[in-house]
Amino acid sequence: MSDYDDDDLGLDGDGEEQQVTQTSRKGKEKARHRDDDDEEQALREDRDDDDDDEEDEDDEEEEDRGQQPKKRKRRKIAVNSFLDVYAEVSDDDEEEEEEDEEVEGFMYDDADDAVNGDTTRRQHVLLDNRRQQREEKTAEQIAKDLTERYGGIRAAPRYTGDLNDVPQRLLMPSVHDAGLWQVRVKPGRERDIVFSLMRKSIDMEYTAHPLSILSAFQRESLSGMIYVEARSQKHVQQACNGLVGVYLSKGVHLVPIEEMASLLTIKKQDVTVTYGMWVRIRKHPKYGGDLAQVIIPGDGIEDVAVRLVPRIDMNPPEETSMLDPSKKRKKAVAVVGAARPPQKLFNVEEVAKAYSRKSIISKLGGEIVFQGETYKNGFVEKDIKINNLILDDVQPTLDEISMFMSAKDGSKQDDLGIQLRDIAESSRKAAIAVLQPGDNVEVFEGEQAGIHGVVEEISGEVVTITAMGVDIEGQKLEIPARSIRKRFKQGEHVKVMAGMYTDETGLVTTVQDDKVTFLSDLSMTTITVFAKDLRIAAEVGTGTNTIGNYELHDLVQLDAATVGVIFKTERDSFRVLDQNGKVLIVKPHQISMRRDSSRAIASDAEGHELRANDNVKEVDGEQRKGRVLHTHQSFYAFLHNREITEHGGVFVARARSLVSLAPKGNALKNGGADLSKMNPAMMGGGMVGSGALGRGPRDRHIGVTVMVTKGPHKGYGGTIKDTNGNTARVELRTGNKMISIDKDKLRKIAPNGDLLFLHQNAPPGNNSSNNNNSNSNAWGAPPSWTNSGGASGGRTPFQGSSSKTPNPYAVGGGKTPAWAPGSRTPNPYAAESGKTPAWNAGSKTPNPYADGGRTPAWNVSSRTPNPYATGANAGASSGTAYGGATPARSWDASANSSSGWLGAGSDGSATPRQSSWGNDWVSAPTPAAAATPGFNVGLTPAFGALTPAAAQTPAGVFNSAASSATPAASGGYALAANDNRTLESDWLFDPAVVPHHPRIKIQLLGTHVANYLGGEYEQQKGKVIAGNKAPSGYEQTATVLFESGEQRSVVARYIAAVPPSHNGEEVLIAGGKQKGAIMVVREDPDDETVTVSSRSNPGAVFAVPKELLIALYDEKA
């Protein structure tokens, strides 16, 4: 404690926590007697720091200077022995002063005999006299006195505080009194500053400018402020000026009058510290939270001597081991997450081993001083401020007490025994509190000892239980609550409700009296707790699994260089095993982030990939087995093995020293055939799953040149370097800077300088120029026909080249929009027809990615069972001739739809679409259309209106809806001729194709998926002998003569055209401007566009999309 305490004892006896100096007031009084002993007073005051009580008397003394010190001392004792410290000897008025004088004189005479009986008697007499006088006063006199005192008339003798005689309410401050000013000071220095103020006041008292403040005090409960009594703010500032630690700049505030009194009110703390009681240390770098036992209560002093189980670091850092303890401790605290040394009784031998023997000083009585602290019987004994002790609700745990119990000294055993009984008692009290109706309890003492039952009712100290077992089964018994305890049986699943194992759950293994041992569910270790802290639990201990956002076995980043895995969660901290195998205790706020290693791959000792959840074994070292929890930087692997008890079974190993327990190679081989692996929909993770990684760029936007259109970087150009969800990392062209920005704020810069939405493709003009080259648009890839928004531009080349050969199956028809949406464009349909599930689905199909987009979707889909085919078919339930061919059609169709269908589709305005192929697909996405039998029923009227006279086609050839079908088809056909790039869905019955039926090569596609005819005819080639028109609502069918010679009727939607396969082959153009024309392939048809020219005019070469071409059988055949 501070050095003031010796003087303060009297004042602080009841826990008072303030220091009052009344320097100035004294000064005023003294002024009246200044004539003779000015200097002496000053001198005295200096010595007289705290003896406020006596000072008033001092002031009135008129004595010899030389004798002063001695006399003072004696007198003090004498007076003190008769007076309550509060009952100050008063000096109300002049007569008293004289009397006091006599007292002084008398005492002086009797200096050597302070408690002389004579003196005592005289004192009494004097006091009585004084009282009498006071009582004799009339009311007027008192009133007058009071006015004098409080009327602000300073000349009058001032009241100096006899609390016994003046009613409290009159002492309350008023506006006439000096104000109380609050001054901000450095926290912790309040008391020092008050004393500095006092000293300053004393020093300056007789200078030219004495301090004008009246008093100053601080309250310990209000840290960072002191209160100064003064008439004006200026006085306070004057007084505090120059004192270190006073923050005058923070202002000096007047305390409202009504609050002044409460500032000085002392709330009595009912603190009883008794010998041997258990307390807890509130805040301490080393012992914070530890249990301690009071050894010297301290009798109301602020310090309490306690003993604790020491925490001595047995592995002292070399350099600090010899330094002084305070410095060392500071350092230890600074280390983040460093575990404080465990509690262990002081053992001279061990400490001597860890430190030098010199550092241990033995004293008499078995005391040992080590690093400035005293150890006795293995405990460390410390003086701790009472404020730093938790006295209530200590709840010592079994472990803690057993720690104290393990002290070996025999002398203390009795004491401890008593303590143990206390503990048992207190824990029993607590046990009553935790009893609940329904608890299984047993009676362990008293008459009914041994009976067990279920708690029925608790009323105060009496518990009614329903007994169970033997002869008193079902009887209700009233038992004192203290005699029963909770009863647990082996194998019960319990949960800890209180103490350091709070929220642990486990299965009871053994029960011994009121101590229950259970096997923790999480750590697989046995834990022993008091039965009172347990409850039957239904749930598994998930309670402690999560704190904040972090969970057990999470990989967390602690700082830039440290990651670790949480292996134990405690009440509000984690134990983390870092990558170096060190155990750290961290609080949630010390974790900077959780890392996701689910996609991280490391390679094991054999070079195989190693991921989370693999079961592996160490190849070297202890050959531990475990399941991979996380990998970090492809180098460390965090493993978990329940059988390892250390660190909750978590350990860290180098990935390179692990080998998989499951033979992996085979699994991979088999995986090739496993469709579920290829099926994104079945992969749970969708496209983000690692399985999809190989199939294309992670994000098609990466590498795109963009411009920022919003935010602080508006107008900046840059390149997307990485994307994550809807944010993109953009490397700005200027400033050499990477920014993270919302994708919505970015616009793609087209080569022509236009700004486009990211998901848009290059603008039409650009596209059209590229169409014939079939590559190098903004994406550097084949142009996307699907970019249907700007269809008009895209059409142009077609018009020039379109011969009518429909060749929808063109192998290598890379232009099929089918892959374009998937592989190249960020789902162009998202904007236009993104609502339609078909498109979304389409963008997910593996097909587009299958061969990097070069392969037309047709082939892929026709080979592999395509999940979407079915869905698509379903959508087109009333299907059209070609509806079911392949799912790819769907893209194709809608993508190429042109203005003909403008008003038809829900998305028509965005995508003018027309397609004989696409009809059902267009409609498929929109539920309404799909629901309508006859795919284009709804559309036809429009066409009818548009081209009412266009009925060139015999209705019979056309599929779909009866009468309206014709105009529709014709209209569609007429318009479609302009720009179609793929076949219409009813191409087979196109008037331009029908005449060629006996020659065109067709094949069945999609039958496999739809299980049509058992899929046996899949890819069977043949020619159409007759196309039968079916009434609306029925499947269109055609009779096909297969190459095998078989002839049968086939549902038209499975019939697909066979694209030309070699140079010189005759083809029919089934779409576009040249629809119906028969041409000859002039170049090997392996590109999306095929160069064709008519036989009659070989020079007039057209480029026709392969899909529009249908290979023809030789005329003779």
Partner: protein, 171 residues
């Protein structure tokens, strides 16, 4: 205890499997899905004995997947309190021993071992030994279940050997 139990399992089948060999696929998926799993209610599903009915697939709107509710008959294993089982010791520590009873993990606390068995931490592998028997990793033991913890997907048992006729099985 082992039971033969009729159970159901819901299989979601991706449209890509709709086809001729769908049933066989469903069956193999059923085996793969349920065998070796544990449901708290029924215990460990050891083996599917027969598939009673693979169910009619119902195509779910939205995903296009078909849902089959397959009924099958399986051998299940569920431990009960008081049941005596044989197991193989997997791990021996100061706290007690962990053992495997087939798919079931059990723990026998040191206090629940026969009283004369003492832990010998210095032996390799660590073991509990008495004059006439020794329990170490790999020992076959007979145990009695004193309690189980049943989760949704796992069962854990506390066992005792502190009774007659329990303990190490002689080879």
């Amino acid at each position: 205890m082992f039971f033969i139990k009729e159970l159901t399992h819901t299989i979601l089948l991706h449209p890509s499997y709709f086809g001729p060999r769908m049933e066989s696929y469903l069956e193999s998926k059923l085996y793969a899905d349920v065998e070796g799993t544990c449901s708290g209610q029924f215990g460990f599903i050891i083996s599917v004995v027969s598939v009673l009915d693979i169910g009619k697939g119902m195509v779910l709107s939205g995903s296009g997947q078909a849902e089959f509710v397959a009924r099958y008959r399986a051998i299940v294993f569920k431990p009960f309190k008081g049941e005596v089982m044989d197991g193989v010791v997997r791990n021996v520590s100061k706290m007690g021993i962990f053992a495997d009873v087939g798919p079931l993990n059990v723990f026998c606390a040191a206090a629940l071992l026969q009283p004369d068995l003492k832990f010998d931490p210095n032996s390799n592998p660590p073991s509990y030994s008495s004059e006439d028997q020794i329990i170490e990793k790999g020992s076959k033991v007979r145990l009695k279940v004193v309690g189980t913890r049943v989760d949704a997907t796992d069962i854990f048992g506390i066992v005792s050997m502190k009774e007659d006729h329990l303990g190490v099985l002689e080879e």
